[in-house]
Amino acid sequence: MAEERVVEAARRGDVESLAVLYRRYYATMVWLAYSILLSRDQAQDAAQQTFVKACESIADLKRADRFGPWLAAICRNEAHQLMRSRRQLVGPRGVEDLYAAQPDRDSDAPSLVRTAVDRLEPMYREIVVLHYYNEMDYRRIAATLGIAEHTVRGRLFRARRRIEKTLRKHGFPEGS
């Protein structure tokens, strides 16, 4: 309810309320954009642009309780638009290529894990990024993305299983 009041005040043009929302959602939007762009700098650009777009259209927001999903949708659009405009291929990098080029496996374990995360489908990747990198629990992720909590739990479970499978396939030292 508290957030709905803040959103409502922001709809009326209250900049301080917007500041509250900005501080509350900025990091989440950065990580959400990162899950698409795989670049911190570009993700920050996308997050900032998300709030610009939000300022322009927050007056049209019908339900204040859906602010998080609404903002996340804007952020996804911005990230995709940024990716298209910069024509960057930020899709999954080839684990095999990376692995072949790096004979010292232990020293490149973080790269391998990150590559495995990057190779996930966007639906799973955004959950992993928000959960691990942004340290959000299932309930907050569900509220932000506008999906059910059990859906978050299920996607995260499947994402973890896929990462684990990829790592085991390349002989990643378990339990290290």
């Binding site: 043009g13 950065v30 300022c55 990198y133 629990d137």
Partner: protein, 815 residues
């Protein structure tokens, strides 16, 4: 609820891959960067506020109605009935005359609206706060009030004159989208400054009515910046505080995009080191920085940043400190000791004992320098004020960037060699070692007069690097003026009492020593040539002063119109450059000798003339006629269309620097001329044709990563050749005057240093970066061997391995 703790190894390894820290939300920065968005939010919010009672009630009613089918039917019936009544009333009566829509002003004066408009409540509140002199209350209201009330509050704040309201007003002034002279926040800021300038005490009582105050604020105020000239006075001293006489002092301004503008011609300091000059700062924006610069023959360039506040700052006590010039020589190599050529070495120099803020100066002029390593991986930074703190950063494609710690390499004393020191840094493929070494080359000499006696007058000895390996990047155009680049990259010293001089800190190379009079800049003796080698790092030269003769040179166009500001250089020695006066004349005082003098001016082909030895003062001027060229404008962009800061280089003239938006204007020598374009960092480059593909569109050069060619050069016995020359040339399709096509070969061997088309040989191996865009011939050659060449059409960013290139013996070596 906190996120659950990681339960197994997978959680841990994923957490370890987190790319960077959690981003911090800086709303103020975002707000300052996007003032239009905040403005839009307020505008739309204000609309919602006015409409909210009606729409909110309708929506609430609709929601309630929607829950019951009976209610829905009732609402539908009511709507139909309403429509019928409305139609019947329109058909029964004449339509009323059209009335203009109510304006904000109409609403403001309407007694009915006034009774319910919350704006008036806010205005009343603002009035009360103003009468009480409550600045904090007004500031609170400023952030929450409606737009119309905001202007009233701002006017009150300006009238109160409390400086604590300045930050809030300045933030709002920066967001103002309208004309600057109408910026109410700016007016209030000026009013506060004005009040605080008169008396810093806040008025005890305010008896004026608010309306009067609003009018007084909105009345036109005198312009904030008056275009009056500034008078700068001061003294130039050396680090010991001794005044420096006859030093040249001039003033420049620098915009945010590093555009330099001369504000005043130079003046010379008197015997007490004092100077006084008038600086025309009227056209200088307040955001631009102004500098006083100073140079004399014995010291490195000195500079002083002038205060930004031109209204109240004191410009009559400027103190410029000059330090001795020093050099830093170094080698960039990888961990295996192989030299890395084409690495960009950037140095940031902060003179010690001085406030840093006043010593900042733009790139390439003073405290920031950039040079590239040569084929041997060596670099040279000169004209650095002794006692400076130096920070180096080295970058090269394929290697990670190297940044020395702040203040690394404190240069102390008059011969401040950097101690040899190695820094190993992590690189992508292999480590880079930056090794700083002292240059131990030295030229000793003396100057004698016509009778063989030691000369005891003031003379500046300048050392020109004749082979242009370490520096001498040529010429560039900036703001329509030709500038000798890297002019300071030369050894400089002065005579002692016995007419002797010593130029130190020189790396291996060939040098020309020129004796220059410090006051006039004229040569007083024929130049002497000498060589510094690794086996003989010391050299000795003797310069004999000869009688000089005044040589007038005139530069004019083909139409006879004199050329103002043309750069004239003798024998390509940067030490001897002069600019023509408005009548196109320039006077050189030269000892009798033959000189080649070359004129460079904007949108003209460089032209050359020869000054013959028997020239007499009464002879007619040496005439140089320059051919004017049409101009070609365009811009550099990358693949996403973003502007690139860099330069373009037509092959018959010098490079043209672009502005921050990537735009350039170049002299157009002929149709479809080929240009080499490059960004500052050297990471993107391309050969481009200077012709717009579609008439009416803007000329754009799309820069791309260069192609890389690698290979190994062997002789016919299979022995690697370490000193072969690998370069590239092109053949550009052209049309002759009869319309027949032909291929015009262009040699780009000179490009190896300046274009970051690097070449380094080790065990015969080479790596050459080549701009794409045209078909090129790679050439490998060495004296005594037959040349090898192969045509290639490289793709951007691709690496081609040419394998082993075997050079066959030349005719002189054949058995």
């Amino acid at each position: 609820m906190a996120r659950p703790q990681p339960v197994d190894w997978l959680d841990q390894v994923i957490l370890e891959t987190k790319p960077g820290e959690t981003p911090k939300a800086d709303f103020d920065a975002w707000r300052n960067a996007h003032p239009a968005a905040v403005k839009r939010l307020r505008q739309r919010g204000a609309t919602i506020c006015r409409n909210k009672p009606l729409w909110a009630s309708i929506l609430r009613l609709a929601e309630d109605m929607g829950r019951s089918p009976i209610a829905r039917l009732a609402v539908a019936a009511a709507i139909i009935a309403g429509i019928v009544i409305l139609l019947s009333s329109r058909t029964d009566h004449k339509a009323p005359p059209a009335t203009p829509p109510a304006t904000g002003a109409d609403r403001a004066v309407s007694p009915k609206t006034e009774a319910i408009d919350p704006e008036d409540n806010e205005i009343r509140l603002a009035n009360e706060l103003f009468i009480r002199g409550d600045t904090e209350g007004l500031l609170s209201l400023l952030h929450t009030a409606r737009p119309r009330v905001v202007f009233t509050v701002v006017a009150y704040l300006g009238e109160l004159g409390d400086a604590s309201s300045l930050p809030a007003l300045e933030a709002l002034a920066a967001q103002w989208q309208g004309p600057t002279e109408e910026n109410p926040f700016g007016k209030a800021i000026d009013q506060i400054h004005h009040r605080n300038g008169q008396d810093n005490t806040r008025p005890a009582e305010h008896t004026q009515t608010p309306m009067v105050i609003v009018q007084s604020v909105e009345a036109p105020l005198p312009p904030a910046r008056e275009s009056h000239p500034l008078t700068c006075r001061g003294v130039v001293v050396d680090k010991a505080g001794v005044p420096v006489p006859r030093a040249r002092v001039w003033a420049q301004s620098c915009t945010g995009d590093l555009k330099l503008t001369d504000l005043a011609t130079y003046v010379q300091t008197d015997l007490q080191g004092r100077f006084s000059m008038t600086v025309s700062a009227g056209d200088v924006d307040t955001s631009d920085r102004m500098y006083l610069l100073c140079r004399d023959g014995r010291h490195a360039l000195g500079w002083l940043g002038l205060p930004a506040d031109r209204e109240t700052a004191d410009f009559t006590d400027c103190r410029i400190i000059l330090y001795e010039p020093t050099v830093v020589v170094g080698t960039v190599s990888d961990t295996r000791g192989r030299p890395i050529s084409g690495a960009l070495v950037e140095a940031r120099i902060v003179p010690a004992h001085e406030p840093t803020s006043a010593q900042e100066y733009p790139y390439a002029v003073s405290n920031k320098r950039a040079v590239q390593t040569n084929y041997a991986g060596r670099f040279l930074l000169t004209d650095i004020p002794a006692g400076s703190l130096l920070s180096l950063s080295v970058s090269r494609r394929g290697y990670s960037r190297y940044d020395s710690r702040e203040g690394y390499g404190s240069l102390l004393g008059t011969s401040p060699y950097l101690d040899p020191e190695s820094h190993t840094i992590r690189a992508r493929r292999e480590d880079v070692k930056v090794e700083l070494l002292a240059a131990n080359g030295r030229i000793d000499g003396k100057i004698i007069d016509e009778h063989g006696h030691p000369h005891d007058g003031a003379v500046i000895l300048r050392c020109e690097d004749s082979n242009r390996i370490l520096a001498g990047l040529g010429y560039g155009y900036s703001n329509g003026r030709c500038i000798p680049m890297e002019v300071s990259q030369r050894g400089v010293c002065s005579l002692d009492d016995g007419g002797r001089f010593r130029i130190e800190d020189l790396p291996v190379g060939e040098y020309v020593v020129i004796a220059v009079d410090p006051t006039s800049g004229n040569m007083i003796a024929p130049a002497a040539r000498t060589t510094i080698s690794r086996s003989q790092p010391q050299s000795h030269v003797t310069l004999r002063i000869g009688p000089t003769v005044g040589v007038r040179v005139r530069v004019r166009r083909q139409t006879g119109e004199p050329v103002d500001g043309a750069l004239l250089v003798l024998n390509d020695w940067h030490a001897t450059h002069r600019y023509t006066d408005p009548n196109g004349y320039c006077l050189f005082h030269l000892v009798r000798d033959n000189y080649a003098v070359r004129a460079r001016c904007w949108a003209c082909k460089p032209a050359e003339a020869v000054i013959r030895g028997p020239y007499n003062s009464g002879d007619p001027p040496v005439d140089i006629v320059v051919e004017a060229l049409p101009e070609l404008g365009g811009r550099l962009i990358d693949e996403s269309g973003a502007p690139i800061r860099g330069w373009v280089r037509p092959f018959v003239t010098e490079r043209i620097l672009t502005d921050a938006a990537g735009c350039f204007v170049s002299a157009k020598n002929w149709e479809n001329e080929i240009y080499l374009a490059r960004n500052i960092e050297g990471t993107l480059t391309r050969f481009c044709f200077g012709m717009v593909p579609i008439e009416g569109t803007e000329l754009e050069f799309h820069l791309e990563p260069p192609a890389v060619f690698t290979g190994r050069v062997l002789d016919y016995d299979g022995t690697p050749i370490d000193d072969a020359r690998v370069t590239f040339s092109s053949a550009v399709p052209r049309l002759d005057p009869d319309g027949h096509g032909y291929l015009d070969p262009l040699d780009h061997g000179y490009a190896a240093g300046t274009l970051r088309c690097s070449l380094f040989l080790f065990a015969g191996r080479f790596r050459l970066e080549v701009p794409v865009g045209i078909r090129l011939a790679l050439v490998a050659s060495r004296d005594g061997y037959q040349g090898w060449s192969e045509w290639v059409d490289p793709a951007p960013g691709q690496t081609y391995n040419l394998g082993d290139i075997v050079l066959l013996p030349g005719s002189s070596q054949r058995p």
